[in-house]
Amino acid sequence: MIELKQILAKLRKLNIVMFACMIGLCIMGVMFIYSACSVRENHDLQLQYMKHAVIAIVGLMAYMILACLNYKKLIKWSWVFYLACLVLLVMVPFFGTSVMGARRRIFDIQPAEFAKLAMIMVLAWLYGRHSNLNGFLMFCITGAIVGLPCILILSQPDLGTALVMVPTTFAMMFAGKIAPRYIWSTFLVGIIVAGTILGVICAVEKRDLTKDEKVERIIAITHLKKHQVERLQVFMYPDKDLHGSGYTRRQAEIAVGSGGVHGKGYLKGELYALGYLPPSVSANDFIFAVLAEESGFTGSVMVLLLFSGLLAAGLWTAFRCQFNSGRFFCVGVVTLIFSHMFINIAMTIGLMPITGLPLPFISYGGTFMLTMLLALGLVQSVSIYGREPSTSFD
């Protein structure tokens, strides 16, 4: 009885705004996955929304349990979690199952998603433990911790997942007071690399070559993968190849735009129903196109507001936390969610090149959904335990 009372007392400290926003997003997720998969012919695929809901409920239970546990105790063991993820990532190329040319899954989970959480946890633990160590050494350690899994993830290939770790790491380094010159210089290098690649694409585009010749030329210079080059080309010249590589981007833009102010109404979307938006992506990476088409600008803003509430509540938790590890962890998770959300929506409306990144809580995808819920569960734990320095000593 006492334990239950204690648990209830703890749950009373739950960040209710964050919880509400998250539930709101999960409900939207189930709703629009139902939309997107209702038009599928395969019966199993039609039940994707059910799977999503089940994972959401399971995840929610894990969320509650994590919220009640002290994050500081968990975070100490984060390196075990990290190593486990690393092992799984190493196993993926050998034992994983291949879906559409990318080998990402093993034992029906995507270790890359867990790895994101693991990296954030390890970094938070490390920065919290050695916050005086903020020079070149820490920068290198950070690089190694993040770099190792990211290289494995990139080789799957999964550019998107690796990509979201960049802003997340930067944000954590910034919060962790790593010497700014390293941050700036890395940032600069990134800009230069990105600028060079785009410059090459721009230069090649002006040549009088066929489509395939252009792609070959660019690959020869940049050593990117073919689909990556095509996506960058589409990003820079969206109207060039509307029936080829630019097709999905174009259809997503039409879906979002034709939703107008108020949307076409729930289950009345046309782009995914008629198959213009490829059904293989409409429930996961391009779920926002379905949502925006059916609920219009109103719905889009609603999603943005829910995310804003979630992110604000997460940062508020960091703000209120009296411990560095908690703060860093919150910053990491918030940045991760923000990056996912921003990149996903931005690519849907053509502001960014297409990368296969899911929209947190809304996109269909079990491992990612679970990871997000676990991460937020831990943030709730920070919210509960981070304000009690006396009880946290061990």
Binding site: A171, L274, F297, Q322, A346
Partner: protein, 607 residues
């Protein structure tokens, strides 16, 4: 705050991150506003452009009736067996779907016991070009086939009956040249409405169907088909409904038409019956003809070849496209010209000795022994060539030409049918240009008896007859009833006594003259016979004519009938006119056994 001697990281760093996130979120919201609110309408249009196909649907074609409301051109449902490809779609390559449909057509062909009508290439073409439309595997199948299909419908999920209207002519070849026929063609697109697909539409190709195509066609409507990403039909929306075409009511009287056709059956020739009071065409026949239903939806190879290679050229509408020398039926025009220019008096006698001498040239009268001393009225009755040659020489060509032009020769009558021929009313200038010779008196004399360079159509001669019937008014012949006065071309200022003299002459033709076989009991008829000679491959042939009008006092019909290669107008054609008049006016049974002369011969010139 200190934890294990370490300083807590500064809160402003978190606040700065919040600020960065907030600004990115605002940027995202603004971008969404641009795409969804500002560009929303444009992108919606793009969606319609890629997912909606417009189909132009024709309105039901108007029907054609005769003056008594009998339908001459109707629409009937034509049952087609159609494949709806979206029901048989296969994933993967298009070829899979094409193969599936192809195999299914073979299967259905066996069940229905029909040979395949469409090849695999056609199936492939359909899948590539008109996927959301039904694929017509068998067109216009019989009721038995429909019944057999209905029994097997369960086994063929992608097949349905597709009904399309087909033109149907209940009287087959009746008035074929006049009614004309329709063909299937890609229809004109509506202004400002570009359709992706067109349902087959009927387009008039000949006759009334062509002339009044716009009225009969109506206004096409539009149907919208929503297609999915692969182009299969997803949903159909009714757009603007099609407007039915107008029905046409012709001036034709089917009964007269049928009698006239029967009269000309087995002959080559043409006949026209006009109402002289207003120019309405009551009947118009060109023989030989053809069955209009053979042309729907398109003539078969065999039919088309046969009709085109036929020496008798059945596709020509002889009534308004045939050019013939009028022969003696032109003589009333010559007589009128002579009377108007005072070159002859009604009681003036001219002697016919059988030959008309003009310098070194001789023109023979059909009566080799000559008619002796005759006056104009008798000359018309007897159709004396010598008399009219003399009359032509006296009157001069200019006066004759003026009257001929007045009655409408040498120009199109303006009837509401396509491809009319104007005939030929020659002139000095024409002859110099085409024959490189000046006009001679000889030409005038020949034309005075309806020979020589003059060419007319049977319709023109019917109009000429109607001008004499109504005393000098030329109407535009027409086939669509207007209800009201006719369409006046001109009213001639002909002196009444002159017209009456010529009419009296024509009256005598029908009662005691060359055209006695025209006469019917109970009604007075006026007529003029004609036999024009022409040479084909060195053989002498005769085009035989009769023009007539009745009743004599207040004429309600004017008739011209031409038979190619006949014996003489009075012998070959006059009985035909008689039959037509009997149909129109009825004939009381004979009161006594009045003997009809068994053989009345009337000849042409140059015997």
């Amino acid at each position: 705050m200190v934890y294990r001697g370490q300083k807590l990281t500064e809160s402003w760093r978190i606040a700065l991150l919040a600020l960065v996130f907030a600004s990115f979120l605002v940027y995202l919201a603004m971008s969404l506003h641009r795409v969804q609110v500002v560009n929303g309408a444009d992108l919606s249009r793009d969606l319609v452009r890629q997912s909606v196909r417009r189909v132009q649907v024709p309105g039901a074609r108007g029907r054609i009736f005769d003056r008594n409301g009998i339908c001459l051109a109707d629409n009937r449902p034509s049952y087609c067996i159609a494949y709806y490809v979206e029901e048989l779609r296969k994933s993967g390559k298009w070829q899979n779907t094409i193969d599936a449909v192809d195999v299914d057509i073979d299967r259905l062909a066996k069940v229905l016991g029909l040979p395949r009508e469409i090849s695999k290439e056609k199936v492939a073409n359909h899948v590539k070009r008109s996927l959301p439309m039904p694929l017509l595997a068998w067109r216009d199948v019989s009721d038995q086939v429909v019944a057999r299909w209905a029994e097997e419908v369960g086994a063929f999920p992608g097949v349905d009956i597709f009904v399309q209207p087909e033109r149907y002519y209940p009287y087959k070849g009746t008035a074929a040249h006049m009614i004309g026929y329709v063909g299937r063609d890609r229809p004109k697109s509506l202004p400002g409405y570009k359709a992706h697909f067109y349902l087959p539409e009927m387009i008039g190709r000949l006759g009334i169907e062509k002339q009044y195509d716009n009225m009969l066609t109506g206004v096409s409507g539009g149907r919208l088909i929503q297609v999915d990403a692969r182009g299969y039909k997803h949903a159909v929306w009714e757009g603007t409904p099609a407007v039915e075409g107008d029905d046409l009511h012709l001036t034709i009287d089917l009964n007269i038409q049928l009698v006239l056709e029967k009269a000309l059956q087995g002959k080559k020739g043409a006949g026209v019956v006009i109402d002289p009071r207003n120019g309405e065409v009551l009947a118009m026949v060109s023989a030989p003809g053809f069955d209009l239903n053979d042309f729907v939806p398109a003539p078969s190879w065999i039919v088309w070849n046969k009709l085109n290679k036929d020496k008798d050229r059945p596709l020509i509408n002889r009534a308004l496209q045939g050019r013939y020398a009028p022969g003696s039926i032109f003589k009333p025009v010559t007589a009128m010209a002579a009377l108007m220019s005072n070159k002859i008096k009604p009681d003036e006698i001219i002697n016919c000795d059988g030959v008309f001498n003009l310098g070194t040239m001789k023109l023979h009268c059909w009566n080799t022994y000559g008619h002796g001393d005759i006056v104009l009225r008798k000359a018309i009755e007897q159709s004396c060539n010598v008399f009219f040659c003399e009359l032509g020489q006296r009157t001069g060509y200019d006066a004759i030409r003026a009257v001929a032009a007045d009655v409408g020769l040498g120009v199109k009558t303006g009837i509401d049918l396509p491809y009319e021929n104007s005939g030929l009313l020659p002139s000095d200038a024409w002859k110099r240009k085409w024959k490189h010779e000046p006009w001679r008196t000889y030409d005038t004399c020949l034309i005075a008896i309806g020979q020589g360079l003059l060419l007319v159509t049977p319709l023109q001669m019917a109009m000429t007859a109607s001008v004499f019937a109504n005393g000098g008014t030329l109407y535009r012949p027409h086939l669509i009833s207007r209800r009201g006065p006719g369409d006046l071309v001109r009213r001639m200022e002909w002196p009444a006594d002159a017209v009456n003299l010529v009419r009296d002459g024509m009256h005598d033709v029908a009662s005691i003259g060359t055209g006695r076989r025209v006469a019917i009991r109970g009604i007075e008829v006026a007529a003029k016979t004609g036999t024009a000679e022409y040479k084909v491959n060195g053989l002498n042939k005769k085009n035989t004519w009769v023009t007539a009008f009745a009743p004599f006092d207040k004429p309600t019909v004017a008739i011209a009938i031409l038979v190619e290669n006949g014996i003489s107008g009075g012998y070959t054609v006059a009985p035909l006119v008689h039959d037509v008049l009997v149909e129109i006016f009825g004939e009381p049974p004979p009161e006594d056994d009045e003997a009809v002369p068994s053989f009345v011969m009337e000849g042409g010139i140059g015997d």
